[in-house]
């Protein structure tokens, strides 16, 4: 087991290094980088010292040295927690991300909880009552939900709220708490604002998970061990939950780590952009739009890190939950 963990962690680290390099290269690709944009902008304004200022910036950010050494330097700093500086915000990338990190996590956790709390019971109900009216209703709803991505839904919701109500749904805090220090009241205010983006961000995931849970459980319910559990005189509820669901849920853990978690973080990034939430997603989008390379590159690596950690945790959880895998 220990060697398995070590191997998996080592593998993730190698992946992360490769990913970070690619991330760095991608951000380096555009010839019209941020400084070039700045130059044109300054010149447009008639700033005579524009050329000098940009050259100075270029030196300061080390943009004059070749790609590979620059990557090595960046990576070395990265490991030390120095992620470079955001050109556009003129603040260290680390600060920008740290400031938004916890809210991003809160939103992701809220979404995942919503997905699982809704999807598992519904999936179990649908499978144990296959072809019943309830099953058909849930199957239809999940089918519809699967075709409506969160950001489109968020746009429609925004339309509804703007046109027909005067609710303030943008952001995660009410106006009076936005810059206030943390307090219990602010936390309550956060919860009040959090549920809606979490709900929107979790719809596609919930719909997908219902379908997977239903399918898995239907397969499992047809297995001989379910029949033999019933033959032992167990209540059907016990058979379903203790034996069938317990088995059917294993593949879902892999899905949680490898698809649901990143899906939700990324899906939330788009939803958050619509609703202008103070999470990492919208900042990433803005950084790409402005070609703010250190911020964008770090965020991409950060997203990948979440994905790799998610995969790792899922694999470990599965190894812990399924004795057949423990053996390997």
């Amino acid at each position: 087991m220990l060697s398995y963990i070590i191997r998996r962690v080592g593998y993730s680290v190698v992946m992360l290094v490769l990913v970070s390099f690619v991330g760095f290269v991608i951000i380096e690709l555009p010839p019209g980088d941020f400084l070039t944009q700045l130059l044109t902008e300054l010149e447009g304004r008639g700033d005579r010292s524009a050329e000098d200022r940009v050259t100075e910036l270029r030196l300061r950010y080390g943009l004059d040295i070749p790609l590979l050494p620059r990557y090595v330097k960046w990576a070395a700093n990265f490991v030390r927690g120095d992620f470079g500086e955001s050109f556009a915000l003129e603040r260290p990338v680390r600060e920008v991300i740290a400031q938004r990190f916890w809210l991003t996590c809160a939103l992701a956790v809220a979404s995942i909880l919503l997905v699982w709390i809704a999807a598992i019971p519904i999936g179990v109900f649908s499978a144990t009552n296959q072809y019943s009216i309830g099953d058909q209703i849930f199957t239809t709803i999940s089918f519809i939900g699967l075709g409506v991505p969160g950001f489109l839904l968020a746009l429609l919701l925004l339309f509804y709220v703007v046109q027909f109500t005067d609710v303030d749904i943008l952001g995660l805090f009410s106006r009076e708490y936005r810059d206030a220090p943390w307090s219990f009241a602010k936390f309550v205010d956060l919860l009040k604002h959090l549920w809606l983006p979490a709900l929107i961000g979790s719809i596609t995931g919930t719909a997908g998970l219902i379908r997977i849970m239903r399918g898995n459980l239907l397969d499992t319910l047809g297995q001989p061990f379910v029949e033999s559990a019933r033959a032992r005189g167990l209540k059907s509820r016990t058979v379903t939950w203790k034996h069938a669901v317990r088995m059917a849920i294993n593949p879902l853990i892999v899905i949680l780590g490898s698809e649901a978690l990143p899906g939700i973080i990324v899906g939330n990034a788009l939803v958050a952009t619509v609703l202008n939430l103070p999470t990492i997603g919208p900042e990433f989008v803005r950084a790409l739009q402005r070609q703010d390379m250190y911020l964008a590159g770090t965020t991409l690596v950060f997203f990948t890190l979440i994905l790799l950690v998610g995969n790792l945790l899922a694999d470990l959880a599965l190894a812990w939950l399924d004795p057949r895998i423990r053996l390997e």
Partner: protein, 379 residues
């Protein structure tokens, strides 16, 4: 469970059914599934209307501008002053200025009426780029009412008809799904087959690459790659680059599935037989293995196309994908990204239901295909 008496031995009585070949059986089963048939028709209609014959269905051309900027949708009317009219018509628009908001907007002007005709002769176009024509399905007759206009879905900031633009926009959005998926299949299936067939080093390399690709969260990777496309490229180049990016990021999953299939197929008798007859590797792969995996590839692809369309929509909506003067659904949404736009020209959001319709169509079709392509599987 062995309790259940096996599903009807359909073969016994309808011996004809099984003697027919696989694809006939697939079609037979697919037709039973009403939802899937509906999805299929929907998708055909979308591609026919948007991709092939957009010019005919829309009353204007995609870049026809007018003086009516951000005009709200006009309602198709059948009654005027309480009397039913044989020919439907729209009322004209009148400009007013809101002094408080310092904004111009349009209100319905019931004193002006523009009758709507079918098959009107208006602006010239080439159908599918080939057949010159000037017939539009509907519109105002330029001879009858030279100042007339019909904006069923309203207009955008440059006074262009949204109805027309949504139909045109579908062309690029739908094609990006199709072309992108075609490229994905080409990369994915080929590499999957090669990897599964040769095994060893080739397999190892392909496997590592797909693993590497799957280590990235795909939408942020799309976004980063799309942002890296030089802004000075021509729109067409951007379009193709975007398609290639989508395919490059997405082929890994397909390759992995195809590889798995090939691994199981290569031990089958017919493949061994082909080999023993002296077929070379390529022949075995493309004549025997890929066809064996076809049904699988079709299902995966159908269900993957919506993802491609949505990826384009999301990218363009964020201003990272296609850009004007190209028109796609995402580009149309780009114009409503701000809350101000949602407040003052909400009709631009009509694009969303149109996109969702296409997504549902593909999902219904894909689900139906999955059930139909496994005719011996049953339930």
């Amino acid at each position: 469970m062995s309790t259940a008496v096996p599903e009807p031995f359909a073969e016994e009585q309808n011996a004809k059914e099984i003697s027919q070949n696989y694809w006939v059986l697939v079609w037979w089963r697919f037709r039973q599934n009403k939802l899937a048939m509906f999805g299929g028709f929907l998708i055909l209609a979308y591609y026919f209307v948007c991709a092939l014959t957009a010019e005919f269905w829309s009353p204007y051309l995609v870049d026809t501008v007018s003086d009516y900027l951000e005009a709200p949708p006009q309602r198709l009317q059948f009654r005027h002053e309480g009397r039913f009219q044989a020919r439907p018509f729209v009322y004209g628009l009148k400009e007013e200025v809101d002094m408080q908001l310092r904004k111009r907007f349009f209100v319905v002007d019931e004193s002006v009426r523009y009758p709507i005709h079918l098959f009107v002769r208006a602006e010239e176009y080439r159908l599918a780029g080939l057949i010159p024509s000037n017939i539009h399905l509907f519109g105002v007759d330029p001879e009858e009412s030279p100042d007339g206009y019909v904006y069923l879905f309203g207009t955008d900031r440059l006074g262009r008809d949204l109805f027309t633009r949504i139909i045109y926009g579908g062309r690029l959005s739908l094609l990006i799904g199709l072309i992108g998926q075609f490229l994905t299949i080409t990369f994915g299936a080929t590499l999957g087959v090669i990897s599964g067939w040769y095994g060893r080093l080739v397999d190892l390399v392909v496997q590592r690459i797909t693993e590497f690709l799957s280590a990235f969260p795909d939408i942020p990777l799309f976004m980063a790659l799309a942002a890296a496309i030089p802004p000075e490229w021509s729109p067409i180049a951007v379009y193709f680059m975007l398609t290639i990016i989508l395919a490059c990021v997405r082929w890994g999953g397909l390759a992995r599935q195809v590889r798995g299939l090939v691994l199981s197929l290569r031990e089958r008798e017919y493949v061994l037989a082909a080999q023993s007859f002296g077929s070379n590797d390529w022949r075995v792969m493309f004549r025997h293995l890929i066809p064996g995996a076809t049904s699988h590839i079709i299902v995966i692809s159908t269900l993957a196309i919506p993802g491609m369309i949505l990826a384009e929509t999301a990218l363009s909506w964020l201003g990272l994908g296609l850009r004007p003067p190209l028109t796609s659904w995402g580009v149309l949404l780009y114009e409503v990204s701000g809350i101000r736009a949602i407040q003052f020209s909400p009709w631009m959001l009509i694009t969303i239901p149109v996109i969702i319709g296409a997504i549902w169509g593909f999902n219904m079709l894909g689900d139906g295909l999955r059930d139909a392509l496994d005719p011996y599987g049953g339930q």
